[in-house]
């Protein structure tokens, strides 16, 4: 049962779509898109304010609350989370899970332990922006801008040990290109961790999604461009996967 997740990359007040995490294209209004994907049958929704960390500004909670109000499915929100107070505010705005990357890598990995202890592991999602480097992958932060010198596989294990309940795995190399996923990265990460992995970055066709599921068996697939440009919708993806893959419902 692979979860199909709609992912909104947000540069408030708009949903945008970067290519390789750069060159933002304006897509639309976050709450309207959230409602649209909810109505299509999305299992979950991810909302990432992709410029909050980069611009080093406060999180804009209003936008998050508006999106949460449209949904009766799980909602993960992130972007610029720096404190336990930020986690708490996100939950109060209606998020069920909070996504963290930059602050945990650059400043304070202990925030993962602390958040997991207070809110439960299931509510703490570690976002990984992976970029290929030689035969490995390196973690990036600030929306794919800043190198961390942390190895992706090491960081996945560390995040799990610290109490992360889910990994959102994005690929800086593949994101927004719609040419398929980095299935090798996805397989490696899924195989070394005991927590669910949601794989994002690269869905360009139904076949790409099916291939990812067959090769890497992720717990979830997060999709952005394919939905934003109406090339497919959640129903058409589910229908395709149901016909082609019995493990998906």
């Amino acid at each position: 049962m692979t979860r199909l997740i709609a992912k909104l990359d947000v540069k408030p007040p708009y949903v945008v779509k970067p290519v390789h995490f750069e060159g933002l294209r304006k897509i639309g209004n976050p709450s309207e898109l959230a409602k649209k994907y909810y109505d299509q049958g999305a299992d979950e929704l991810f909302y990432i304010d992709i410029v909050s960390s980069l611009y080093q500004r406060e999180i804009l909670f209003d936008g998050i609350e508006k999106v949460a109000n449209e949904l009766f499915i799980p909602f993960a929100a992130g972007g610029g989370v720096k404190s336990i107070d930020d986690f708490s505010k996100m939950f109060h705005m209606g998020a069920d899970k909070v996504v963290i990357n930059t602050h945990a890598i650059q400043e304070n990995p202990d925030i993962i332990d602390k958040a997991a202890k207070i809110f439960g592991s299931q509510a703490v999602v570690v976002n990984i922006e992976a970029k290929r480097w030689k035969s490995n992958w390196e973690c990036y932060t600030d929306c794919g801008r800043i190198q961390s010198q942390k190895d992706v596989l090491d960081w996945v294990k560390e995040a799990e040990q610290r109490g992360a309940g889910e990994i959102l795995l994005q690929s800086v190399d593949m994101d927004g290109r719609c040419r398929g996923f980095d299935t090798e990265l996805a397989s490696e990460v899924v195989s070394i961790t005991g927590v669910p992995v949601v794989v994002s970055s690269g869905a360009g066709s139904l076949k790409d999604i099916k291939e990812l599921i067959e090769i890497a068996s992720p717990s979830g697939v997060a999709i952005a461009s394919l939905l934003h440009y109406d090339r497919e919708n959640i129903q058409s993806i589910k229908k395709y996967l149901n016909n082609k893959n019995d493990s998906v419902t």
């Binding site: 499915i73 939950f91 202890k117 809110f119 439960g120 592991s121 927590v195």
Partner: protein, 200 residues
Amino acid sequence: MNNIIGIVNYGIAGNIHSVKKAIEQAGGNTLVVNKPSDFDLIDKLVIPGVGSFKDAMQVLEYDNFISPLQEFNKPILGICLGMQIMADLGFEFGKTKGLGLIDAEVKPILCDGKIPHMGFNRINIKTPNILLDGVENEEFYFMHSYEMVNYTNIAALTKYNNHSFVSAIHKGNLYGVQFHPEKSREAGIKLLSNFIKLKE
């Protein structure tokens, strides 16, 4: 009676926002319960749940909610952690005493699948009750690393990676669900409307 559904506000996690919204969507009137005297104003109670067993019990104790919860003689619906803390004991971050309303213990899920168990899954009703009326074949959203171990009050079971666990309990006025009805689309709203319509 006015049929006011109270929602216990406890802890800094509190996903009461989504629970409140879903109950209202299901046609219910809600009141957020912030202090023990609020228990006098409500006809039913929902214990939502995000967080860990230990933190939840500590906050309930700090806010003097323990005895009002134990003495509440009207219908209670516990959601996820809200169901789990009805048990005698929890094993999340050490051993913690629960509300002791259900003869059960809360332990980590032991199976080969990825933990937390996250995603939509079916429930298999063992003992039908009004709460689960009309949702027999529906899927609900689960998001948990711990499960309630109970043998006497099982309303429904769910299978995850060939591991069966308790997904709903029922004992008199007490109802509990391991999944999140407020995150389970129309099926969840239906379940909440069953709770709203429930007669004592």
